[in-house]
């Protein structure tokens, strides 16, 4: 990972392609694209060292709009391609764009194994809780009772929370942000870029054609301060327009409570402090019942752990030290042979 402090001469423009962007006007994907293009120059990497990989979906069109190397693959398999690319050339900075269908429906298994292996790639899951490209069927993140083209009487399956899923399969970095929250999304992307290992970031993304306003209840300017909690490592879990609400743990029941700091009695000292290395806390924050609790955003979990690639490299170097570069004649001539 290049040093992020080092300044680079690249600008947002350098990351734009000549292809016109073909998302629907008003799609949340546009702002994600803009934010990514804004953050990318900070990586301090030359364009050619970056690869964007995706599956199939509106979100998966992403690589076409990034002036880096890009591979728009097949539906759901992007994590496997990314694993192959990063393993073949550890020098590359590999990024993946996927959707809630691509990543969690057909691609759930590959995503899970990529996360547990801790392949050093950065994954952005655009969660619009719908299948956009196929014109509006419910997805594994759609709420129960969702009426869509394929579920005229409402969907019956429990949705998955992408962050809980990622934690359950031992992801080493789990974060959440929102398409239009430029500042917050930018910060999360910087953290993801810094993380050595699989960085999994869920981005709530508005599909204004097939699932418009899916997140309004906690993203609207008016309510967001009270409906979101932006977690920061080492800081108490405070939220609310007046920063007057907090999350407290009830140790007896091991459940969370929303407490009112204004009311007096309770102080920040009583609140849980966010510890991004605590998987259980992250799990708890990821799945707080909404709207009784706010939606947790930011870096929920982050843990340093050997990456898939680093371990493989170590094994390869050990082999090379032990046997040298690999000698075909020695290989074929080893063991029992006889000469005539």
């Amino acid at each position: 990972m290049a040093d992020l402090i080092e300044p680079t001469r690249l600008t947002k423009k350098d990351f734009e392609t000549d292809q016109d962007v073909r998302w629907c006007p008003g799609c949340g994907d546009y702002s994600i694209l803009a934010n990514v293009q804004r953050v990318m120059p900070e990586l301090g990497l030359p364009l050619e060292q970056i690869v964007w990989v995706s599956g199939i979906g509106c979100s998966s069109r992403f690589p076409y709009y990034m002036n880096t190397y890009g591979f728009h693959t097949i539906h759901g398999r992007a994590p496997a391609f990314a694993t192959g690319i990063k393993t073949a050339n550890p020098e590359l900075s590999v990024w993946m764009a996927t959707g809630d269908g691509d990543g969690l429906s057909i691609g759930g298994n590959h995503l899970m194994h990529c996360l547990r292996r801790n392949v050093d790639i950065k994954i952005l899951l655009f969660n619009n809780r719908i299948y956009g490209l196929t014109k509006g069927q419910y997805s594994p993140t759609s709420e129960v009772g969702k009426v869509t083209k394929s579920t005229p009487s409402g969907s019956v399956d429990q949705p998955i929370d992408p962050a809980s899923f990622a934690l359950g399969v031992n992801a080493s970095f789990v974060a959440r942000s929102i398409d239009v929250e430029a500042q917050h999304l930018g910060d999360v992307l910087r953290r993801a870029a810094k993380h050595v290992g699989t960085a999994f970031t869920e981005i709530y993304q508005n599909c204004n054609v097939f699932n418009d306003g899916a997140f309004d209840s906690f993203t609207d300017k008016a309510v967001k301060a009270d409906r979101q909690i932006r977690v920061e490592h080492g800081k108490p879990l405070v939220f609310g327009a007046e920063r007057n609400k907090g999350l407290r743990l009830n140790p007896a029941t091991m459940t969370l409570e929303v407490v009112d700091l204004a009311a007096g009695g309770v102080t920040e000292a009583d609140l849980l402090v966010h510890d991004e290395t605590n998987s259980v806390l992250a799990y708890m924050l990821a799945r707080m019942p909404y709207p009784a609790f706010p939606v947790a955003l930011g870096v929920l979990f982050c843990e340093l752990r050997p990456t898939f690639g680093a371990s493989l490299t170590t094994q390869r170097q050990a082999a090379e030290q032990k046997y040298g570069g690999g000698d075909v004649d020695a290989l074929l001539g080893g063991g029992n042979t006889w000469t005539i």
Binding site: Q19, F71, T73, T83, I85, G326, L332, G333, N336, T337
Partner: protein
């Protein structure tokens, strides 16, 4: 050759045979595979030509004494050229009743049966479904029977070492091997050394197994057995250094060689599946060759990881068998669309579905050629012998890199597990594979093509000035950008097809493997049937029949001269271990009335059945 009519008795007083077929059969726990391997090594050191084939049970460790728990190993060794493990054994070693029951039917009339009477207990007889003990009575009168209580004799031989009964019994196979060495006049020393290495952690076991080996040999020397001994002289093999090699090892080694011939690293994406797993196992041992093996979560991830690696500039390889192959097709289709090199090795097994996982079959050919959505042509080649797997694996890599295309290499369970002596090539003599990555930004787009091969240029991530995007949507011939234009799509489909068709000019013309360039009947085969077809045709020709044998290694595209070659024969017979697949392609492409000779029994062709089919065909 499996005929073994006695020749002149040699000085040694042994009966000299041109060749012999021996089968060891026993319980999974009886160590028959080890016995077979050691007997094979001895034959190899005696300079015999040979071919071997193991026959494992489908179960991991089937309960002792059961019919489905029988494990077998057959070897055909000869002073002449050998092409198959042989149809019917001259000597059958049966370590228990189940082994006798399942193998006797194959033993030649008049053949020698060596049975471990010690294992013919009431319980074992029952498990094998014998009412009475076949070693008593005259049910075996068609064979020469040596009924020996090998168990007892082994226990006696190792008693000094006071092992547990279980361990003592485990030495049975070396006792038996000793006897077989006596029978064929083989030296014990190499095996003694092998035992010392193998059990070095347990000196008592070293002693015990050597003791058993010697006891078996001594038994032959001393015991009063009215039976003459045999000698199978050395074969006149081409000069060179030889080793015994199995198909899966050869495939793995061919891939390893390709890394050095091309100078590229390799990524193998694989998901375990019988009978392909051993290629993954073998390659995982050689990281120093720049090979990374990724045991993926499934076959889809395996092929996608390999293709991702190819995009990044590695040799991308994936290995599998039938059911896994079906799962890879969408990924292979993408490889066709993005035109990246990819090697897929399909080690075919019995189907449909899970089918007969441990048995052999050649029934994935049509899947390999046609099994993708839409028009997605790929190159398909096949290996014909265990040793040939090495060369075809290199060829698969060469063609994939040169034509920027997926190449499917077909082998099968018979090649994978079979083995033969193999003349070791020198690395220096192997053709280098030269690879050029695109580096020049001037006028670059990802689908610029080499006018001759039609291969697109390969620009790998990390290359300055060549950043670009590729994907599975159709692309513009001239810019590589996404294009839905009707004429462009047709042009691209034609280009992809022509690129594959053009490979025909880059591979050897089809040769006649045996016989005349024209005649009454051509027997056209592909893949692992090479040995049996060759020997069958040889026999027919020995009888003066106008038959030739041609064996196809390049299945898509077919060799450019194949059509003419076929037309030079009155009739064409296509034996395949399937219901008739190559024959469909041949008939469609050349409109010749080729006849199919299908066999789908999970077993290779026997020379005899091929021989009879050829003869009857010619008489019909």
């Amino acid at each position: 050759m499996t005929e073994s009519t006695p020749l002149v008795s040699s000085a040694s007083g042994r009966e000299v045979l041109p060749s012999a077929v021996v089968r060891f059969a026993g319980d999974s726990g009886d160590g028959m595979q080890v016995t077979g391997d050691q007997f094979t090594a001895a034959a190899a050191l005696a300079r015999n030509d040979l071919a071997t084939f193991p026959d494992f049970p489908a179960e991991i460790r089937a309960p002792t004494g059961t019919l489905y728990g029988v494990s077998g190993f057959q070897i055909n060794f000869s002073s002449q050229d050998v092409y198959t493990p042989g149809d019917a054994p001259d000597v059958l070693v049966a370590m228990n009743p189940a082994a006798l029951k399942t193998n006797l039917r194959d033993l030649k009339r008049g053949g020698l049966l060596i049975a471990n009477s010690g294992a013919f207990t009431a319980q074992n007889l029952k498990k094998a479904g014998y009412e009475t003990n076949p070693l008593e009575g005259d049910s075996l009168s068609n064979y020469r029977v040596m009924s020996i209580d090998i168990t007892k004799l082994t226990v006696a031989a190792v008693k000094e070492l006071n092992l547990s009964t279980k361990e003592a019994h485990r030495c049975k196979n070396f006792w038996t091997l000793g006897l077989m060495f006596w029978l064929y006049g083989r030296p014990l020393e190499p095996t003694v050394q092998w035992i010392e290495g193998k059990f070095k952690k347990r000196d008592d076991l070293v002693q015990a197994n050597i003791a058993a080996l010697k006891a078996g040999h001594a038994y032959g020397e001393t015991a009063e057995i009215a039976h003459h001994r045999y000698e199978v002289p050395a074969a006149a093999l081409e000069p060179g250094t030889y080793r015994n090699i199995g198909g899966n090892t050869a495939t793995a080694w061919g891939l390893l060689a390709a890394t050095k011939l091309s100078g590229l690293d390799m990524l193998l994406g694989a998901y375990p599946i019988t009978p392909a797993s051993d290629v993954l196992h073998e390659l995982s041992k050689y990281k120093q060759f720049g090979v990374t093996t990724v045991q993926a979560e499934d076959e889809i991830a395996a092929v996608c990881a390999a293709l991702g690696a190819a995009y990044a500039g590695n040799i991308g390889v994936t290995t599998t068998s039938g059911p896994g192959m079906a799962l890879k097709m969408e990924g292979i289709g993408l490889a066709v669309a993005v035109e990246l090199p990819l090697v897929i090795v399909d080690i075919q097994r019995g189907g449909p579905s899970t089918g007969l996982p441990t048995k052999t079959e050649q029934a994935d050919l049509l899947q390999a050629v046609y099994g993708r959505n839409s028009e997605a042509p790929v190159c398909v080649i096949a290996a014909s012998t265990p040793g040939n797997c090495f060369y075809m694996a290199i060829e698969a890599v060469r063609l994939a890199l040169k034509y920027m295309t997926p190449v499917i290499l077909l082998t099968d369970g018979y090649l994978a597990n079979g083995a033969e002596p193999w003349r070791i090539p020198k690395f220096a003599d192997l053709p280098k594979i030269d690879v050029k990555f695109r580096t020049d930004p001037e006028g670059f787009h990802p689908f610029l093509r080499d006018p001759k091969t039609l291969a697109r240029n390969w620009a790998i991530p990390g290359t300055k000035g060549l950043t670009h995007r590729i994907g599975g949507l159709e692309k513009d011939f001239k810019s590589g950008h996404i294009s839905y234009a009707p004429d462009n799509h047709e042009l691209m489909c034609q280009t992809r097809a022509q690129k594959i068709a053009g490979i025909a000019d880059d591979v050897p013309e089809q040769k006649i493997d045996l016989g005349d360039a024209s005649g009454k009947l051509l027997v056209l085969g592909w893949g692992s049937t090479y040995g049996s077809i060759r020997e069958a045709v040889q026999r027919c020709r020995a009888r003066g029949l106008s038959v030739s044998h041609a064996h196809v290694n390049y299945l898509n595209p077919l060799p450019r001269n194949l059509g003419d070659l076929l037309k030079r024969f009155d009739r064409v017979l296509v034996p395949e271990l399937n219901m008739g697949q190559l024959v469909k392609i041949i008939r469609s492409q050349y409109l010749v009335p080729a006849e199919s000779y299908p066999k789908v029994q999970g077993q290779p062709f026997k020379i005899a059945e091929l021989y009879e089919r050829i003869v009857s065909t010619m008489e019909s």
